[in-house]
Symmetry: C2
């Protein structure tokens, strides 16, 4: 057993059985080990942003970490933006990054770089393994760290000689792995909130002032939101979600937790009515960006912010404790969304409202919606509340290019669920290589590209920051025409069948066909 | 004048007049400033790897830095791999990275990350600007650092409020810029080698032992190589180039400096005859990767390595001093390559030799060849030595995905020269978005994709590292079929006309047509 095989055995012992990968020479022993050891599903991405984004999506759905396999500093660097998103989503990931043989590093060969330095800004835990035997403990620790509640990024750097050297004491490695799942289970246990915190939150909700329960993280599961709905039934409080949601359970039959809006003014308006804000797995609401002469904090002046629980707490337990404290345990939840799809589908030009109506009618039950439609989709939240029940995933770190990679991982975690990707044509161009992996792995994905041929969000932001309207040079940096991107061609070029829709009837027909057909397909909806 | 305008004025004062960009909200004031101030050419990339790779290519041809404009930590992260390549190529680049308003950072909004931490591994100089007035000095220093011989990566982080605040003392800013070009000129002066170093190198070359002049960096210009050729004529030494070359002047009429091979065994063989190795802008030759039971160092046992000059020295001066010391100044250079294109173009299946013959015949005079054909192209070096004179650029840091972005920057630096990209289908998938920028900017590029539908290099590396041959799972990570990439579709989808060639006749005809047609086009050559 060499070091690479030791790592694969350790990963499998720690229930890490999917590896998203873009390997190079320094990872060849790991690749060879995967040939010899059963149990690891290997998924190739043609760019590392696909690899790390897929691992994020996998965690969000499977609730256990996947591993990645990345090629030295630059390979890790290419995956860093989606690791940033995963970190902010509090997803657990075990990165394995190949490194030169330890004696080769000092020679400063071309690919040499400070891998730990590259890893650190987006990792909670970084370690370089010193020997084939040390991999047992290092690998185990990497998995434990990734599983720590609510979920963390660990990065294990694997020098090539550490991978190819023989393990001196394979029995010791076996023994060390024996209790790994127990240790992981302990690490992943979320902390319980204190009785004091529960009582303080309850006091806020019965103060008589208008109150909102602002929920994030694991508090957005269907079960947790149902408890929130009972609390709302008892106290009259409103239930809301943070704008960015790693996984928000929504749709008909579920307690509706409207997301805070993206922009400053609507967010201020949404929170204006409330004097008491109780945060459950959420942080105090802040603006995505600062703007001159606009506040960065959204809570109304004079309002009281109370934190019942932070991200790392057991949020279902926190909500249940609060419900029990309030005597809300047996009430029917308030605010349950009703199915709102009309009998007829809209037709005509593809307005946001019309698109939302099509989605509401056609999103399949139990779908996973991955939303990166940063302008076209901004209004979809309220408009699609009456869809069949589904999960809604957004890019938690704001780094563009998360949706298609995340969809790969989500689809691999749940092959029986349809993944619906809502993607801008600008944001889609960051990691389009994900389409190829969708095709190869037969991911059941319906990818909708909203083709407005510009960074439309930035046109708004330009005036939003007080920089005026776009002159010719600014326009050149905000428009994606000249040439127009042809997503149908690009998608077919990567093996994903694609169609183009120019009105709502075409869109509805193509969407209906896509969700009924196994494997991926793409719809370019021309806006 | 706000801080953003102050920075644009400073960049222009420092002769930085091209900005490769992928902006976001935090950069909108900079974008607006570009609208109001004349003189900066702005080039949009749809992914940041394109942006930084283009800046690398721009430096290599223009020999002055471009600026980049990147969106916070994740935008910088996406450009990091090509910054790694640029750093190893010793290219000068001024990165401008937007950051949240300084008072907004502590709120931990989604896009918040440790930007300086992300920048540091690939930058020589990193600074966050503290105020609109401080930008004058910080921007000037960023440009000076980028110009320091031989060329460096500087990264200036620009908080949004620093950009939008008014400059308190605009006259002081103007005054501070007055001597900027002088200061830059001083910083960019390369150090001269000492007389002692020259004498020591000369002694090696006349020792009577077989000797090689191993040249890198600026020593690979046509003029510097001509001097090396005179030295060879005088001493009988061989002239060779490092394997990786930022810009190697080659082709008919130029002194041939064969590149060291990529792989270990051929490199050992190439250096085996020599007892004396004199390095001029080169470092001691080392293996790209370590392999079990193979040496990492290529110099034959018992050989003597002497460094005449390092990268940062004035290499033309070093070679001229050596030639003068040897009394070689007036000799005719030895080893001048002859034009070797045959009268008839080869036909039939696309072998490496046949492809090289087509290239030799058809590479236009003064072309810029950007080579990332990591397997198909490995033999091209010797076979294309008799092409018309041209420059040959390779990825200095070994991070895949450099060629198409670098071609964008090279083409913008030299619009009158044809850029020929030799690209693998694997490596091409890292930054394919560069095609769109080529189309938009009308870059005169001929992009050849060698479509072997696998990471062929890794099949060799798998056995090379002693990991055996690929089983089914390894094969799944090394093959790019299922589905096959269709580069013609992808290219057209990004606005670049494309054709497919399956034999040498088609390839030659399509190549001939491409180089004769303004703007970019792509040829998928099926191997």
């Amino acid at each position: 057993m060499n070091g690479a095989e030791n790592l694969v055995h350790t990963l499998l012992a720690g229930d890490v059985d999917v590896c998203f990968t873009n390997p190079g020479t320094s990872e060849m022993h790991f690749v060879a080990a995967l040939d010899r050891i059963d149990g690891m599903r290997c998924v190739l991405g043609l760019f590392e942003g696909v690899v790390t984004g897929a691992a994020d999506g996998y965690w969000r759905i499977a609730r256990k970490p996947a591993s990645t396999l990345l090629h030295l500093g630059p390979g890790l660097a290419n995956g860093l933006a989606n690791l940033h998103n995963a970190r902010k989503a509090r997803s657990g990931i075990v990165n394995v990054v190949g490194e030169h043989a330890s004696y080769h590093v000092a020679l400063d060969a071309p690919l040499t770089s400070d891998i730990e330095g590259v890893a650190r800004p987006m990792s909670h835990w970084v370690q370089t393994s010193a020997s084939a035997d040390a991999i047992t403990a290092d690998g185990a620790q990497a998995i434990i760290e990734a599983n720590k509640a609510p979920g963390r990024i660990s990065t294990l750097v694997l020098p090539a000689d550490t991978a190819w050297n023989e393990v001196a004491d394979p029995q010791a490695a076996e023994r060390a792995r024996a209790d790994l799942r127990t240790r992981i289970a302990q690490a992943s246990l979320a902390e319980k909130v204190s009785n004091e915190a529960v009582k303080a939150a309850a006091k806020e909700l019965v103060s008589g002032d208008p109150a909102v329960l602002l929920v994030g993280g694991e508090g957005l599961s269907a079960k947790a939101l149902e408890i929130a709905g009972r609390i709302a039934a008892k106290t009259g409080c409103k239930v809301m979600s943070e704008f960015y949601t790693a996984k928000l359970a929504r749709g008909a039959g579920r307690v509706l937790a409207p997301r805070l809006p993206y922009a400053v003014d609507p967010s201020l308006a949404a929170l204006a009515p409330f004097k008491r804000i109780v945060m459950v797995g959420a942080r105090r609401p802040v603006a995505f960006f600062a703007y001159p002469d606009k506040p960065s904090l959204f809570a109304p002046e004079g309002s009281v912010l109370t934190q019942l629980a932070d991200y790392h707490h057991d949020l279902e337990h926190a909500l249940q404790s609060l419900a029990d404290e309030l005597g809300a345990g047996s009430l029917a939840p308030a605010g349950i969304a009703q199915r709102s799809a009309g009998d007829t589908l809209p037709t005509g030009a593809p307005t946001p409202e019309g698109i939302a109506a099509v989605l509401t009618a056609l999103i399949p039950e139990n779908a996973i919606v991955v939303d990166e439609a940063v302008t076209t989709g901004r209004a979809f939240g309220p408009l699609t509340a009456g869809s069949a029940p589904h999960d809604w995933l957004t890019g938690m770190g704001g780094a563009i290019g998360f949706a298609m990679p995340t969809a790969v991982g989500a689809g691999i975690a749940a092959p029986d669920r349809r993944v619906v990707v809502l993607e801008g044509d600008g944001s889609g161009m960051y990691n389009p290589q994900a389409l190829w992996t969708m095709a190869r792995e037969g991911v059941n994905a319906t990818v909708v590209i909203f083709a407005n041929h510009q960074y439309r969000i930035l046109r708004g932001e330009l005036s939003g920051v007080g920089a005026g309207t776009a002159g010719p040079k600014a326009a050149q940096m905000l428009d994606l025409d000249r040439p127009e991107l042809d997503w149908v061609s690009m998608s077919r070029g990567m093996g994903v069948p694609a169609t183009r829709a120019t009105d709502l009837s075409e869109f509805a027909a193509q969407f209906k066909a896509s969700v009924a057909t196994p494997g991926p397909s793409l719809i370019e909806l021309v806006i």
